[in-house]
Subunit: 406 residues, 2 copies
């Protein structure tokens, strides 16, 4: 049986998960992929740090990344360090030295992904990153293998478990945003600094990668209009629920002609929608395409083991390419020249919440009142009309997903 030699960068939650899963699944991998994986070197920041799980025999620990990069036996480097700048340098070096690279580093991928993929193609090595979007859900491989024969019209995702946990807790337990965030932090679902998750930055980064695989066009996350969930309050959630909706932090990219329309922010979905059922830290991605219609993929969006599984599925694909002398094909080989636009600039319907019914003449689609607040679903409004209405509402307007007219 062929042996493929690996190097691992980082031995935190994800890195340790990779080591464990590689050991646990060795027999199945040898049978199905016809390959034995030898983890030769693991680079860590602190050699002396106590580690619970012993490394496999034959694996050397080092605190010098170059020990991994300079080892000519190592054919595949798995990067789980998580920083952006260091990771970029190290991945480039690994690619230059003819090593295939697997990473879950979504922040790096959102900014440098296309360039690194191009570099890998030129150097005839693989560059894969299934774990970068929706953790354990094999969405990128589904898009690049199974949906490559279809034309995708829209992709809609709940792809930030932290934000979904917070919104679920606010909605089901009636918590305030601050209390729900504190609860998420306590349970380890939110970072001490939750900015990336609650401000929608992480969601925008992942949408960029999804758009690349769906439409052949990566998005520049810095150019997206992004709204976080930190301004959502429980009054809005209660009103939405009373009117038959759920509020979710959605990532949407829709192709129309030669343009991709994007949205990242909290929006309303009918309670009966499949994505509305996605609770807690779960993730889900809904794909609307010509041949398949609607398919939905749900699963864990984070965690050591789901992320490690996605990394190992990349590894099996890389191993197949190595054995076939076929490395260097892009993970996503679909490229299109498309412009981008924001869904926020389109006419759409909104949830309006105020202390009292605003004195405007609107054909409200539905309204509800409670002891201390009024809420209504607007008809389709232009951005000017929405801005005028906003002034009369005590809470930010929330758009109704898919109500926009193109």
């Amino acid at each position: 049986m062929r042996t493929i030699t690996l190097g691992l960068l980082g031995l935190g939650t994800v890195g340790s998960g990779v080591v464990k899963l590689l050991q646990a699944q060795q027999a199945k991998l040898e049978q199905t992929a016809q390959v034995h994986f030898h983890l030769k070197r693991v680079a860590v920041a602190h050699l002396a740090k106590h580690r619970n799980d012993p490394l496999p025999s034959g694996t050397t620990l080092t605190d010098n990344i170059d020990d991994v990069l300079n080892d000519q036996d190592i054919q595949v480097v798995i990067e789980t360090m998580g920083t952006v700048n260091l990771a970029r340098d190290v991945i480039k070096k690994a690619i230059y030295r003819g090593k295939s690279v697997i990473t879950a580093n979504k922040d790096l991928l959102a900014t440098d992904g296309p360039q690194l993929a191009e570099l890998a193609r030129f150097r005839h090595v693989d560059f894969m990153y299934e774990a970068s979007v929706a953790g354990g859900i094999p969405i990128l491989r589904v898009l690049s293998n199974s949906l490559v024969t279809d034309q995708i019209n829209q992709i809609t995702g709940i792809i930030n478990g932290t934000a979904n946990y917070i919104l679920t807790a606010m909605s089901s337990a009636g918590l305030s945003y601050q209390d729900a965030l504190a609860e998420a932090q306590e349970k380890g679902y939110a970072e001490p600094d939750p900015t990336n998750d609650v401000k929608g930055i992480d969601t925008a980064n992942k949408l960029s990668i999804l758009s690349q695989f769906s439409f052949g066009r990566a998005l520049d996350p810095h150019q997206l209009t992004v709204t976080g969930i930190d301004q959502v309050c429980k009054q809005q959630l209660a009103a939405a629920s009373q009117l038959g909706y759920a509020v979710k932090l959605l990532a949407i990219a829709r192709r129309k002609g030669d343009c991709i329309f994007t949205f990242v922010g909290p929006a309303l979905l009918p309670q009966t929608a499949q994505l509305a059922q996605i609770a807690g830290v779960q993730n889900a991605i809904e794909v609307n395409s010509n041949a398949l219609g609607t398919t939905v993929y749900t699963g864990p969006g984070a965690g050591a083991e789901p992320t490690a599984n996605s990394i190992l599925s990349d590894l099996v694909a890389v191993a197949d390419h190595i054995m076939n002398f076929d490395c260097g094909k892009e993970f996503n080989g679909y490229h299109n020249h498309l412009t981008t636009n924001s869904i926020n600039d389109l006419p759409q319907a909104y949830l309006a919440v105020a202390k009292q019914a605003p004195p405007v003449d609107l054909a409200w689609q539905k309204t509800s009142t409670n002891n201390d607040r009024w809420a209504g679903i607007t008809p389709t409004l232009s951005t000017t009309e929405a801005a005028a209405l906003q002034k009369q509402c005590d809470y930010p307007l929330l758009p109704i997903a898919n109500s926009w007219s193109l």
Copy 2:
């Protein structure tokens, strides 16, 4: 660009879908797979039959299957004829002549799949059948690519759209089984002879294939205990709903140690379960595995275009193997020696429905009464206890999914 030459057997709903999708997606396929597909010959039963869609120029129609099988240019044969005996012969011949084969023929696969796969391996050609389970949902490729690095514990599927349509109509519109079946037939969702679908035979065939990919062990559909939905009545559905459950035709395979426990039949799921939300002709598969926990895949279970998309995703994989001189690897390379057992023989809880509360001393978990019927959820019962209770109930007991104790 490399050209790969194809032969198509059958030009019914699915065959026509393949021709259309191949034409529609040609540019994307050429860009991403770096291959041009030339459909050289299509074999049909009746040459003179009127066809709406013209074949691509360069494609010849024939009523002699041997014209396809004997054409040495043809590297891949797509079988969409749908009969079992003829298809078996033709697929064997194609494999013997060194052609890779793609089929959606689940009835054939359930009985002859492992043998045909073995034959293809020996002849160094590919044999793929993504479309055979759950139509457009890319579940087999997900299991064989993305979950090959994980250990699957249980797979639960709603994989017959006809049965799910009927149960949904009975439950939501209060129709009788006969009326719901008639409605499904009228809409083209059920065959004039619905036996395979409503008796659970189709579901059992697909479970066999799912078990092969999940556990490395195909099931013999003839040895499975299979219950259909044709004995389910609206009183049971109404009672289930009142008690917080939905009734679904489920296919379950669960591995415990060296045994696979299987179930095919109507069973109750809590209304909050993700699979309980699957309505109409939609399909869904829930996978429970060590690393990922629960992932769910939902989409269209049938139809020309979804099926054609799955066939074309097979074709892209076959093309990659042809270009790498790497054909002959099994679609599912995972094999295990496991015994099988029926979940029906395990202690489990049931929904009991009768005209009046049965005079037995049971710790009912929940009960409900209506004008003219009584219903209750039992505690875990042995098969003997269940048989005794059955005698006192006017309707068949329905098991509660996942209530069985192993």
